[in-house]
Symmetry: C2
Subunit: 145 residues, 2 copies
DNA sequence: CATCGATCGTTAGCCTAGCTCATTAGCTTG
DNA sequence: CAAGCTAATGAGCTAGGCTAACGATCGATG
């Protein structure tokens, strides 16, 4: 710890960590209501943002193992939200593609969830929300690294 | 949505939500290494902070159902980190108490995890960490409400 | 003071979504 | 062209949520 500057420890990493966990659990619990899981939604978001992806790419970005992402993909395929397509250059690879129905469910789910989370955010003052907004990129960097 | 003021939506709730989820998953994945789960650790933290608690109190604070907390408590009891004791005033109640061994594991785990998360926080600048610290109470309110 | 609804903890059984390990197919390289 | 590497995936395990149901105890009330 000696090589890490003081201000780091001022943040009380432990409390922040626990809070993130609890908040995440709340979000996850809410999920059941709208018929799509967070794991699934995370994959759909990626496909929407980047176009076709392989299972390996999806797994890496989500920070889970390939078998885990595979299960998620199976569910998405059964629901008709994605298709598996061959990769023309490498037959080992599979290209996961969003279907029209998948795009539609993203839009709808985003609407539902945004409404729910937004409502939650409404307990904060406008200034506090602005602060939170500023911090979002930091949290993203923490979650990406 | 019309009844919710504009600044709320500026926060892009959806992205923040997804980031929180991913960060939480990273934290959880790291967990396996140190032999105690987040669910268990959350309970031990509460006992350390507030002294004896009933299963119901623990469940409410963690935002899970009584059967869920009960399973967690079983694990903690098997590990010898807590004991179940009768409540002198109400025989329906059970008082969960931290053992010495439980206190020790908290200290040790906190050390390990703080080191890990602190290291992660080190990718931010001192100013960014200060910002994050400011936001921590807001996140707590979001996770409590 | 007996009963009856409410409360507390708990067990049973289900589901999701991680994981590891093992297998198959296809690519790449000495 | 064989040996080894990589990608996807299946099987089986585990943790930790959930609901439903139950027994014990408490407290209020006829």
């Amino acid at each position: 710890m000696a090589d890490i500057p003081d201000p780091v420890t001022e943040t009380d990493p432990d409390e922040l960590r626990m809070i993130i966990q609890r908040l995440s659990r709340r979000i996850r619990v809410h999920r059941a209501a709208d018929g799509i899981s967070d794991a699934q939604l995370g994959v759909l978001f990626q496909l929407e943002k980047h176009g076709d992806r392989t299972p390996g790419q999806l797994a890496e970005h989500e920070g889970v193992t390939p078998p885990s992402i595979n299960r998620t993909i199976n569910g998405l395929e059964e629901a008709g939200w994605i298709t598996r397509n061959p990769d023309p250059d490498d037959a080992r690879r599979v290209r996961i593609r969003l279907t029209d129905s998948g795009s539609a469910i993203i839009t709808e789910t985003r609407r539902l969830r945004a409404a729910w989370f937004t409502q939650r955010l409404a307990i904060l003052t406008p200034q506090e929300r602005r602060l939170l907004q500023e911090v979002t990129p930091l949290l993203r960097r923490l979650s990406d690294s």
